[in-house]
Symmetry: C2
Subunit: 341 residues, 2 copies
DNA sequence: CGGAATCATGAAACCGATTTCATGAAATCA
DNA sequence: TGATTTCATGAAATCGGTTTCATGATTCCG
C-alpha cells in the first residue's frame, strides 16, 4: 500500500474533500466565505495532492494573470538591475510574476515590447523614461492597465512617473564644477533619440554653461552607450578641445571609459581634468580617483514604482507620481582647475 | 460612418470572415490546412479587428504557454545580464517569452523559484550552476520540462549543462601565475555553499598550488559577492599573509575591490602584487592596470543554451550538453614577482 | 413565532481559445 | 464510372479553473 500524491486538479481535490469545485476555489480565493473546518480540510487535501492551480485556467476565467510587465533599455546597466530587483521582489511578495523585456535606449522602439506585455496579459507595466512613440501613447490612452515610467520625470506626460529630475541632477553636477572654477567643459552623452533623460541632462548642462558664460555648451559628444564609447568620446573631446578641464559624463559607465583614455594619454584626474559621473554605480567609489557622481536612488525608485502600481491595481485609480531626490556625491575626481597660462 | 476596429475575440473574427472559429484558429496555427483565399480573408479581418489571441485561453486548451523560465543568481553581475540577453532574444525570435527570477548564489535555495517557474507553465528552464537541492532534483526527475544549467559543467548531474569547466579555467589562471614565478598565493572567492562554480575554482587552485609546492592553498578568503567584499578580502589577505604576491579572484568584481584596496595600501599592481580575475567584464581592459582575466563566452553560452532547449522542445529528447572554452586573457595585472630578500 | 436577512454551499454557465470528429466536396484510382 | 482517398471546413467537446445564481439552513428581529 504505497502512498501516491495523485497530482490532480481542483476537481480531484474537491472530490477527495467531499465538496464542490466551487468551494475549493473559494477556499483559496475567498477564504472568509468558507467554513473554517471545511477550508482546513480542503487545504489539507490540496497540500497532500500537491495541488497547483493552473494559471491559464485561472487567468482565462478571472481575467487576472498576476503578471507584471517591465520594458527597460538594458539589463547590462547595473543601475537598472538594481531598480528592477526591488521592483520585482516587491511584486513577488504580492504573488505577481514579472516579465522583463529589454528594448534599447531609444523609446521610439518600445512599441512591440509594450504590445507584447499587454498581449501577455500584464496587469501593470513599468517603463523607463518618457514615452516617445505615438503608437504607445495610443495604447496608453485605450488600455485600463496602469503604467508607470521611471528614471525620469517628464512633465505633462501621458504616463505617470516615479523618477527624478534629470535636468536638476545634471545642473547640480555642472554647478559644482563651475563653483570649482572650471570654465571649459565638455559632456559625454548618450544618444538623444527617443531618450528624454539624455536630452534633459544635455539641456541642463547647456543652460548652466550659458548662464555662467562658460565654454562647452556645444561640446556634447556621443559614441554609444558602453564603456568603450566613453573612451572614444574623451579622445574626441581632448583632440578637438584640448583646453577642456571639466567633463560631465551622463553615466558612470562613460566615466570608466574616460578614465582609461585619460591614463592612456597621461591626463591626470582630477589635476588636469575633472570628471563627474551619473548613477553612482557600485564601482564609482572604487575607481582611481574615486568618482564624483550623482547618486540615483535606484532601489528606492524600484520599490516606489512597485508600490505605486500596486496601489493603482487596488484602487483602480491612476498611479501616484513621485519625484525623488538625487544626491551629488563628492569624491576625488573633481577639483579646481590648475591655473593655466 | 466612422470605422471601428472592434477588438473582438476569435469568434468575432470568425463571424466577420464568414467562417467557423475552428478555421480561424487553424489559419493561425496550421495555415497549411486552410485554403489560401480563406486564410487571406481571415488574416485581413483579424488585422482589421486587431485581433490578439488570449494567451490564457490558448495555453489552457493547447497546454503550451510559450513561456521560458530562468533562475539566476543575480542580474547585478553583468556577465549574467549578457548571458540572459542572448538567451532571451533567441527565444523571442521563436515566439517565447522569458520569465527571469533571481535566486542568489546559493543553489540550495532555488526550489521555490523553480517551482514557481513550473507552476507558471514554463516550457523549458535555464539554471546557473549545479543543482544542489534534493527537492529540485525530485522535480527534475518527475517533470517533462527540459532543463539546462549553465556557467558550469557538473559531471553526472541530473541536469544537462551548456557551460564550461570552472576548474580548468582557474587552473589556467593559476598556472599562468606559477609560470611567472609566483610562489605565494591567495584566492578571493565567493561562498561555496550551494555553489559548485566556487568549489570547482577553489579546488583547482589548491590542486595547482599543491602540485607546484607553492604556498596559499589554504589562503582562500571570502567576504561576500560584491566589489566591497573583494576589498575586504584583499585587506585580510595582506594583513595575514603579507608575503603574498599573486591573487586569484573568482570574479572581476572582486578584482575591482582588490584594486581599490591595493591603492589605499600603496600596493602596486602588478609590481608588488599580481591579480587575476574571472569573467572578463566589460571594464576589465579599462582598469589600471588592465586586468588579466579569464574570458567567459557568456553571450555564446546564452545562445547555445537557448538552442539546446529549443531543440529539446522540438525533439522531446533531453537537451544536448555543451562544454565551451574559456580563454585566459593576458593583460597588465600579472607579472613576475619582484625578487624578494 | 413568522418573515427577512445572512450564510455556506453546490449546480451550472462561462472565459476564449484548440482539438477531435464528422461531413460533404473534390480529386484520385481501378 | 463507381469506389476510395484526400481536402477544407464546421459542430461540439474540451482545457481547468472562477463566478453567478439558486437553495436550504441559520440567525436575526420585531
Amino acid at each position: 500500500m504505497q502512498e501516491r500524491p495523485k497530482r490532480g486538479g481542483l476537481a480531484a481535490v474537491a472530490k477527495a474533500a467531499g465538496v464542490s469545485p466551487a468551494t475549493v476555489s473559494r477556499a483559496f480565493n475567498l477564504p472568509e466565505l468558507v467554513n473554517d473546518a471545511v477550508r482546513a480540510r480542503i487545504l489539507a487535501v490540496a497540500a497532500e495532492q500537491q495541488y497547483r492551480p493552473d494559471p491559464a485556467a485561472r487567468a482565462l476565467r478571472s481575467r487576472r494573470t498576476h503578471m507584471i510587465g517591465v520594458a527597460l533599455p538594458t539589463l547590462d546597466y547595473s543601475i537598472f538591475a538594481r531598480l528592477i530587483n526591488r521592483f520585482q521582489s516587491r511584486f513577488a511578495e504580492e504573488g505577481y510574476t514579472t516579465i522583463i523585456l529589454t528594448t534599447g535606449f531609444d523609446n521610439r522602439n518600445i512599441h512591440d515590447s509594450v504590445q507584447l506585455l499587454l498581449d501577455r496579459g500584464a496587469e501593470a507595466v513599468l517603463l523607463v523614461g518618457a514615452v516617445e512613440d505615438a503608437k504607445v501613447n495610443e495604447i496608453l490612452a485605450e488600455t485600463q492597465v496602469p503604467f508607470v515610467t521611471t528614471y525620469s520625470f517628464p512633465k505633462g506626460s501621458a504616463v505617470p512617473a516615479v523618477g527624478f529630475d534629470n535636468g536638476e541632477a545634471t545642473q547640480a553636477a555642472t554647478e559644482h564644477l563651475l563653483a570649482l572654477g572650471h570654465r571649459h567643459f565638455a559632456m559625454i552623452a548618450g544618444l538623444t533619440d527617443g531618450n528624454d533623460r539624455q536630452r534633459d541632462r544635455i539641456a541642463a548642462y547647456r543652460r548652466c554653461l550659458e548662464r555662467a558664460g562658460a565654454t562647452g555648451a556645444d561640446r556634447v559628444v556621443c559614441h554609444g552607450f558602453d564603456m568603450a564609447a566613453g573612451g572614444r568620446a574623451l579622445a574626441e573631446i581632448m583632440d578637438h578641445y584640448p583646453d577642456t578641464t571639466a567633463i560631465v559624463c551622463n553615466t558612470d559607465i562613460f566615466a570608466v571609459g574616460a578614465y582609461a583614455e585619460c591614463r592612456k594619454r597621461g591626463i591626470r584626474v582630477p589635476d588636469d581634468l575633472s570628471i563627474i559621473g551619473f548613477d553612482d554605480a557600485e564601482y564609482a567609489p572604487l575607481l582611481d580617483p574615486p568618482l564624483t557622481t550623482i547618486a540615483v536612488p535606484a532601489d528606492e525608485m524600484g520599490l516606489c514604482a512597485a508600490e505605486a502600481l500596486l496601489a493603482a491595481l487596488k484602487s483602480k485609480a491612476p498611479p501616484q507620481e513621485r519625484c525623488m531626490d538625487t544626491t551629488l556625491t563628492l569624491r576625488g575626481s573633481t577639483a579646481a582647475p590648475r591655473h593655466k597660462s
